[in-house]
Amino acid sequence: MEEKSKVKKEGKKLQILVCTLIAILIALIAIFGVYTKKQNRMENNIKGYDYAMDLKGTRIVTLTPSTETETIIKDQSGNEVEDAENLTDEELTEKGYTKEEKSKNSEDVLTQDNYTKTKEIIEKRLKGLNVENYIINVNNQTGEITIELPENDQTDNIVNNIATTGKFEIVDSETKELLMDNNDIKSSQVMYGSTSTGTAVYLDIKFNKSGTEKFENITETYVNNVSENTNATDTDAENQTNTTNEANQTDTENETNQTENETSDTNSTEENQTSEEETAKQITMSIDDEEMMTTYFEEVIKNGDMPLTIGSATKDQKTLNEYIQNASNIAVVLDNGKLPIEYNVTRNEYVLSDITRDELQYVKYGIIIAVAICLLILIFKYKTNGFLASLGYIILSAIYALIIRYTNVMISIEGIFGIALTLIINYIFIYKLLAKIKEYNKDEKLKGTVLKKAIKENYKEIFLKIIPICIMSIVFCFVSWVPISSFGMTTFWGILLIAIINILVTNNLLKLKNK
């Protein structure tokens, strides 16, 4: 009988030893990682932490009101003359034309109101581009706008879009008379359509009430009534449900129609059109003075919808994604109006956080030391139970460190606070549990059920108190502002682990002593 008890005791010791080794192993993996040799250098196989903007660094973009000037040519009566750029100085003098330098941003647009309006439009564009994490400020004296953005694959694209003025114009292709502008746009959205040659991407521009009327008038005026012009070479457009309102035109794939952002239009007219077509009145649509297309209309459009094909129909997913991206970018810019001031990007650089990696290491080791001290107190006060609970604590902390790495939680300062909060809650949990075990052990009636009762009551007591924190962490997990979501996610995973690990690990470890 005595021998059996001795064996049982030794078995328990062995179990405790194994658990200790496992705890140490997991802790070492979580703190230092697992290194293997790869191409003559040691590489950590454990994923690193993802740091947020405040701990990693940001792209800082500064937009400054343009000070550039443009040359305009005026006739003797002071009217601006179009298409005179190619004339020599002598020819200009001969015709009585004069050259003038005009600032792109006149004095009267450089106002505080316009600076604020620009900031608001940029914020709307950022929202449209799904950028929620940014810091923006405007210098009300100079109009300079500084934006801090997270650095990722999309940053360059975002910078391009926020710096764009977004001037939308439909003009008469010959007289350059302004027919429509940004004020006529209600909204724009990206649409798709299947064709025999693949998927086509459309940018559907919807006009507002006055825009719809204007557009109807334009389609009346610029409608093509010459029968010969129906010799369209591209059947793609015909297959599109979204282009039924538009005139059948020549092939979109003509490269001259493609703008820098690869926007082209199926309805562009080309040189190979018949002479009859050349006589038809046409409109030119441009964004930021960049000609997107020149076209005319087959019929009168009354619904205020102008679908534009972006690129050509394709089956290639990569190309399609590019078209979608381009269309989305244009839609975001058009949807939020044009900037009242023309801006130039004067600074676009990646700036590291002023919190260095060394400082982060100090925080990490500071937390480890604090935890070690607290666990020593626990061991000192509750002896074997304290030691076993500490093992559970170490295992939980190590698994927690690994989980927040593999669940792609972005660590911000608030996230570090969430980690600290989890460690504190778990410590309180364990401390209270041990206190209860000690208290119940004094009660003879509870012999044999001490641990079960202590665990049950501790869970009830702690979790009833932290339910509001659980609610808060879940709500914060769904927030796109990283500092808040970082706190939410670290706390969520922390509380979940406290609930699971303490019942699976700490409880079983304490059974070794208290069963």
């Binding site: 810091i135 400020n137 590291l352």
Partner: protein
């Protein structure tokens, strides 16, 4: 005795809030340098920068106690940005010459313009936190009202909401009075107070619930 203690605490809280409001009206909050109007210079050194060396130079020139923000620029970390409340041309020239001397480079003052950095508005700093905190508080209040309905849902609502608002007001009043800058540690502080307040509320209501049950059992 207990009510006297309570009264003192209430008076103290009211005094802190009034003082906080007064300080905020008179001189506003003290914002971290990152959010203030500031001046910045960028030094393209072209070599791996030692932050401590640059910080030392900046402190020598700008003053030992002047708060500065030092950040490395671009992936090669061969340039550095120094931000301070104010950087005069003379100070810029001094920094440039000292950096030239230290790194054996020939930066000219023309290469290092003084850039004015505009402040970030307080409301822009707060904006991203308003909806998450409001949503979380709303759901928590609903939970509290349901969980502790025996103590009167409206009473629970008023107590919890009042306590949360009061404690945040005390926190911001203390920050205004002590001139603790509004910066990167503000939200962790707000969260700490918020969490402690919620735990305080649940503990209080749980205790009341327990007491009520004991009384009921005794009856």
């Amino acid at each position: 005795m207990k009510s006297k203690k309570k009264l003192i605490i209430y008076i103290l809280i009211v005094a802190i809030i009034i003082a906080g409001i007064a300080v905020t009206i008179i001189s506003g909050f003290n914002f971290d340098l990152k959010y203030q109007d500031a001046k910045r210079i960028e030094l393209g050194i072209g070599k791996q920068v030692n932050e401590d060396e640059i910080r030392q130079i900046a402190k020598e020139v700008l003053g030992e106690n002047t708060p500065i923000v030092l950040q490395k620029i671009e992936v090669f970390e061969d340039a550095v940005s120094i931000m301070a409340k104010d950087i005069t041309e003379e100070q810029r020239d001094n920094i440039v010459s000292k950096v030239n001397e230290k790194y054996g480079i020939e930066l000219t003052t023309d290469d290092v313009p003084i850039i004015t950095v505009a402040h970030t508005r307080g409301r822009d700093i707060i904006k991203p936190y308003v909806i998450p905190f409001s949503t979380a508080t709303l759901i928590i209040l609903v939970y509290m009202m349901i969980r502790y309905y025996k103590q009167g849902s409206l009473k629970v609502l008023a107590k919890t909401l009042g306590f949360v608002v009061l404690m945040q007001a005390v926190l911001f009043s203390i920050m205004a009075i002590t001139r603790i800058p509004i910066g990167r540690l503000t939200i962790p502080l707000v969260l700490t107070v918020y969490i402690l307040t919620l735990i305080g509320c649940t503990s209080h209501f749980e205790k009341s619930l327990k007491n009520a049950e004991v009384v009921k059992n005794e009856e």
